[in-house]
Subunit: 140 residues, 2 copies
Amino acid sequence: MPRRIGDVARGAGVGVETVRFYEREGLVDQPLKPMRGWREYDEAALGQINQIKLAQGMGLTIADMKVLKARAKGARAQFCGAVRETVAARLDAIDAEIAALSLKREALADWLKQCRRRGKRGDCPLYAGINALAPKRSKR
Amino acid sequence: MPRRIGDVARGAGVGVETVRFYEREGLVDQPLKPMRGWREYDEAALGQINQIKLAQGMGLTIADMKVLKARAKGARAQFCGAVRETVAARLDAIDAEIAALSLKREALADWLKQCRRRGKRGDCPLYAGINALAPKRSKR
DNA sequence: CTTGCATCCGTAGCAAGGTACGGACTGCAG
DNA sequence: CTGCAGTCCGTACCTTGCTACGGATGCAAG
């Protein structure tokens, strides 16, 4: 059972600064501070950090989580709607990201293939292109 | 034929600030400034920006391009080796990124499926979980 | 009482790739 | 001559998710 922020951090496998960051973001509830001394944490903080890690593993952003946390105070149906909305939006965003990366992947793979095919023929268009852009030397 | 930075920017479809950013990064050669007046650009700047856009489309980073540009002054064989190295490294990085995103994609899709399956049964574990983390209210 | 680690708190910095701003200047049209 | 758009230049800001720093305090052991 965690008592102080360092215990929470170690228990969740994150740094103390990270816990404090989550608190600033409002994702982890910061226990009230006694007028002197250290804050007293309980299991809730640990659970909240684990939920953050879970959500992060699914690709949700901190901003997404803030929205969902705000909605969690409302009725279950509303909350579920918000969850589905957020998850669907993030799914679309991630699909778009994957599509963009796949295009890049193909372009890079093609480039490598061309490189190997040209092999020793030594007609790299990029090298020619880059040096054509500095025509000072070729003009003499 | 571009004359001033604004012409270059319009011609390349980027902002003036972006051209200046590439100049600061050393990816676009900035023509010498006359003691008074405006710099005079030629086609080279346009070509360099187009190469940047191409490389970006393949997923190369600005840092990658800096390295390659530095190598372009050397012999062709050295340059080609550096290109292959950079491209291969970036390809690996992008594959890793795609793999990570695919995991997230699956997790999100699963979550949505679970949401729909639970449908009106109203037993969302996330809602329960979040509210269990604030047990103040349930204790009464 | 002193050492020494932990916490508290605000603030600043990192990566990446730009974007924006403010004040001074330039050059051209009216 | 004046107005106005465009440049020049340095610097600050943006996003995201942390991470680090520095000075002040707290607390327990020796």
